[in-house]
């Protein structure tokens, strides 16, 4: 099991943070372009799921899998979006994303007086704590 990368978008679709761990292939674009493409895809998927669902959705889109990787999606009520790409066997990625939100993003960004929402996250403490949490998680280790 492994974790490939993590994208964080704010509610307007701006890339707040991008982290990479075991990424084996680059998409061949700059990270800004890649983020735009990713956000555009997620936006369409969200619409697609809302229309396609036979009953009323509550949380909506959760993840998709291809033959090689799984994309896990978690959106907070305030519209911050966490997207984590893992391999196909990873379990409990959603819980990990919830942890990243409550233990890292809220603690070290939202509560940081120097951080303005809608900006790229520059805070060093956030980066080190995120790296720690990801590397400690059983999904990353095994």
């Amino acid at each position: 099991m492994t974790i490939h990368n993590l994208y964080m978008f704010d509610r307007h679709g701006v890339l707040m943070y991008y982290g990479e761990w075991n990424r084996k292939r680059q998409s061949g674009m700059t990270i800004e372009e890649e983020a735009k493409l990713m956000y555009g895809m997620l936006y369409s998927i969200k619409n697609f799921v809302n229309k396609m669902s036979p009953v009323d959705v509550r949380e909506g889109f959760q993840c998709y899998r291809t033959s090689k990787y799984a994309l896990n999606y978690f959106e907070t009520p305030s519209g911050v979006k966490f997207v984590m790409n893992t391999d196909l066997h990873s379990q409990g990625v959603r819980e990990l994303l919830q942890q990243i939100n409550s233990q890292i993003y809220i603690e070290y960004c939202v509560k940081n007086p120097a951080y303005k929402s809608g900006e790229t996250i520059q805070c060093e403490l956030f980066k080190t704590k995120l790296d720690e949490l990801v590397k400690q998680s059983p999904i990353f280790k095994s």
Binding site: R23, P54, G60
Partner: protein
């Protein structure tokens, strides 16, 4: 456990077949007094709930009937507009029926062609080499399974999240497509499938799946 619907997309991304198997009706009827405590707007010739969700009436639901009489778009059966009718206090109390709108044929075609780019981008954004496009898409209310053949035709099955054996079912639908659509001399590629045999065999397959004959 249930299969909700099946879509078949041609290699250029167009919808060539669609079948609704199990559909769930979500309808709520409730008596309202003046003034109406939910906000309604007109969208695409439908009356849609925009704000004030309660008692199973959710945002996005459509107004289907007033006092048991079906609406015809935004018109009452005698041709009057709904909006002024609802604004008039003398018409109340009213029993209004709301429900989740069914997909129209146009919307189905639209959704099917929307899946094609999603499938392509998913493989483009892959962090691993040589990844395919979306194979399973999970939401909290359904799971969409996709199988792409070597010739580029996509079979989509929308099923309940707990439904088992969908991969097998996808292969079986592919077999039926090969047997009854492709081998039909009157069927031309990329065109909508209108073959009775295909349809009846597909229905049979889904019935069998429901009663569990295939789940050996």
């Amino acid at each position: 456990m249930a299969i909700y619907s099946i879509f078949i997309l041609s290699k250029s991304g167009g919808l060539i077949y669609q079948y609704d198997h199990t559909s769930i009706k979500i309808e709520v009827e409730k008596t309202f007094t003046f003034p109406l405590d939910i906000q309604l707007v007109e969208q695409n010739k439908r009356i849609v709930v925009a704000f004030g969700q309660k008692d199973g009436i959710n945002v996005g639901h459509n107004l289907l009937a007033i006092n048991g009489i079906q609406l015809n778009g935004t018109l009452l059966d005698d041709g009057r507009e709904v909006s002024p009718f609802l604004a008039d206090q003398s018409n109340f109390p009213l029993s209004l029926k709301f429900g989740r709108p069914k997909l129209s044929t146009n919307e189905k075609i639209f959704l099917a062609s929307m899946f094609y780019p999603l499938f392509a981008i998913a493989s483009q954004l892959s962090p691993e080499i040589k990844s395919s496009g979306i194979e399973v898409l999970e939401a909290d209310t359904f799971k969409l399974h996709c199988f792409q053949t070597l010739t580029g035709i996509k079979f989509l099955i929308v099923a309940e999240p707990k439904q088992l054996n969908v991969e097998h079912l996808l292969r079986r639908v592919y077999e039926l497509y090969a047997d009854f659509a492709l081998k039909n001399p009157f069927y031309s590629l990329e065109m909508p499938i209108r073959c009775e045999q295909f349809e009846s065999n597909l229905q049979l397959l889904l019935e069998q799946e429901k009663s569990g004959i295939n789940n050996v």
